[in-house]
Amino acid sequence: MRIDCKHVWQHISAYIEGDVDAALRAEIDKHLETCEICSAVLDSTRNVVILMADDRVFELPAGFSQRLHERIDRELQFGGS
């Protein structure tokens, strides 16, 4: 089975997840060896995934945690058992 670029793109996310079977993975790997474009698409997709996981991208509002725990304290003290 020879796979083309479009086929590789369809499986990029699953490939990154490690969620493709061995045969498909081997086909994709083979394709990537010679296809500069798909390699770049894979790398940039993976980079986007890595960047998103960085805690600096989404930060909680200042004081969020403090206000949350104050609210919890009020419930713990005055709420039901």
């Binding site: 479009k6 793109w9 369809q10 990029i12 996310s13 699953a14 990154i16 997840e17 969620d19 990537l32 500069e36 474009i37 390699s39 770049a40 698409v41 894979l42 790398d43 940039s44 997709t45 993976r46 980079n47 986007v48 995934v49 890595i50 960047l51 998103m52 996981a53 960085d54 600096r56 991208v57 989404f58 909680l60 509002p61 969020f64 945690s65 206000r67 949350l68 725990h69 609210r71 919890i72 304290d73 419930e75 713990l76 709420g79 039901g80």
Partner: protein, 208 residues
Amino acid sequence: MPANPELDAECIRRVIAGERHLFHDLIRPCERSIYLLLLSLLKNEAEAEDAAQETAIKVYLNLHLFRGEAQFRTWVLSIARNEALSRLRKQRIRREESLDAATDDQSGDYTPAILTSWREVPTEALEQKELGTLLRKAIEGLPEIYRNIVLLRDIEEMDIRETATALGISEGAVKVRLHRARAMLQRELAPQLKAFAPKSKGLLWRRA
């Protein structure tokens, strides 16, 4: 935040047994995920914060109902999701996309952005506000059913199963949406992120 079911279970048992103050420690590792999920659903910071507080209180009051079938955080997030849905219903916010309807059947032929020179991960560029803003805008611009998935799976790094349980959808749907979302983000972001790629050598990540 690595989940530790035994530690959670022990903590829950003690809170229920009367050591109420331990609830703070129990909820703390979940609060970021709670807020981000609510922000994604409610699209309003103040509302998301209020809903997060309400979620925490509901979690506390319903703690005895937690059966340990899912991870604690997953259970907490489904409570957060219900809180958001009930607020949206009350507000009668009409939106073009339904939260529950799966619209995965549209043909998803996404052509990725083609570029060959951006491969390094510019994590150090996150020190600059612009990169964070760029990423947030791209994520916020995703249709809701995709944004929620990205948020839980890629931002909060929950696994596929946890994400599916928290959102009340199948694992298959998570995978399909995750794929579409990542493809959309790659297309949107890759050309722009190129500007942030480090000029020097020292690749942080290259395909093995």
